[in-house]
Amino acid sequence: MQIAISLQENNGLDSAVSPIFGRCPYFMLYDTETGTFQIKENSAKSAAGGAGVQAAQMVVNEGAQAVISGNLGPKAHSVLASAQIKIFQCESGNAKTALEQFQQQALSSLSGPSAPMHSG
């Protein structure tokens, strides 16, 4: 399965997980079957409005089935929920530790938005 992780930087598995979703600078797309990943720039990071919507659309289009992020707003949440993408909250650490926690089922899943509109 493909997991999308919101990142603060483009530094491989050592990249810090971003506390925000819509305007995070990068996304990691991690493939759990092959253990490979790619890091993509978030095209929504400087959107005039609706960054959460655009970022969520990008994650949907990439075929992710799960998202790991520090927080997530209401619009991004409703887009991801519509595509039945599972959302997990990770408030600190890097991509590597986030993936370890994910595999140990130690990340809490988000059934609703964790941040108000315009938080990121």
């Binding site: 929504a44 005039a48 609706g50 919507v53 659309q57 949907v60 887009v79 519509s82 595509a83 039945q84």
Partner: protein, 294 residues
């Protein structure tokens, strides 16, 4: 000729200047004179002009309606939406109405013709008279966030029968964002109202960037609340070659007349002449003389 009155900073006296200038012109001009209050989020020129309204119209915009049965989830609508108001996920359209600018791109680009449009009220327009002055204003519906379509509608509707020779003043909202740009669009000149304070100067610099650098409109400045700190504004205007067309002193008497909702030209007849001179100078900014004030 169309003259927009803008300021950058709020509270510098745009509406006071606009109302007095327009009424002063209307009283002595043979041609039609108009004032449009384009500050549709807080229209208040009517407080000073006490107009009688004889025409009203709803301002509407066309919002997309998505027919989920016809939709095949292709995602074209989300791709063409500049405002990120549409996402397509799980084969379904998710529409965020509050982000929509009613541009119509999704409707035009849907290969399945699954999007239709229906009108939504976004505000109200009123037109009438205050003595010889033609006056119109728009009011944005409470809860609706974008004034731009109401301003566009107001200009089109109110001025549809205005004569070619009409002198038209457009009172903009404060700031330098979309509503101000919409007000300035197709103006022949801009009058920038400022005050001799650091905030006044800061925001004057921003509006000059819009008016002079981006829109290339001739402009002039009214220095309101003028006094010992005028140098702040004078230095900048000299540098940018923008003429200061009028100064209104910082005076308790002027503030009191304003607070009573009375026109300055009625309560303080000595101000009639400066407003007339201001109008004459602005009219010399016609486009055939583009070097003036640029």
């Amino acid at each position: 000729m169309r003259i927009a009155i803008a300021s950058g900073k709020g509270g510098t006296g745009k509406t006071t200047i606009a109302a007095n200038l327009a009424q002063s012109c209307a009283r002595r001009s043979k041609n039609e004179v108009w004032l449009l209050d384009c500050d549709v989020e807080a229209p208040n020129a009517a407080l000073f002009l006490q107009p009688t309204f004889d025409q009203e119209k709803e301002s509407i915009r066309l919002m997309p309606i998505f027919n989920q049965e016809k939709c095949d989830g292709c995602g074209h609508c989300a791709q063409v939406c500049t405002y990120n108001a549409i996402a397509v996920a799980g084969g379904k359209v998710i529409f965020f109405k509050e982000l929509c600018h009613a541009c119509g791109s999704c409707t035009l680009n849907c290969p399945q013709a699954a999007i239709t449009e229906e009108p939504e009220t976004i505000g109200w327009l009123q037109a009438g008279h205050s003595d010889e002055l033609n006056f119109a204003q728009g009011k944005l519906k409470i809860g609706f966030s974008s004034p731009v379509p109401v301003i566009r509608d107001l200009k089109k509707w109110a001025l549809q029968n205005a004569s070619q020779e009409a002198l038209i003043f457009l009172d903009a909202s404060p700031g330098c964002t979309c509503p101000v740009v919409e007000t300035l669009r197709d103006a022949d000149a801009a009058l920038l109202v400022t005050e001799p304070t650091p905030f006044g100067l800061h925001d004057l610099k921003l509006i000059v960037q819009v008016v002079q650098d981006q829109m290339e409109l001739p402009c002039g400045v009214v220095l309101n609340k003028s006094g010992e700190n005028d140098g702040l504004i004078e230095d900048f205007c000299t540098e940018k070659q923008i003429p200061i067309l009028m100064r209104l002193p910082l005076s308790r008497q002027i503030a009191q007349v304003y607070s009573e909702g009375t026109l300055l030209i009625d309560a303080l007849p000595e101000l009639e002449k400066p407003f007339q001179m201001l109008a004459d100078q602005l009219q010399s900014f016609e486009k055939q003389n583009p070097e003036v004030g640029k």
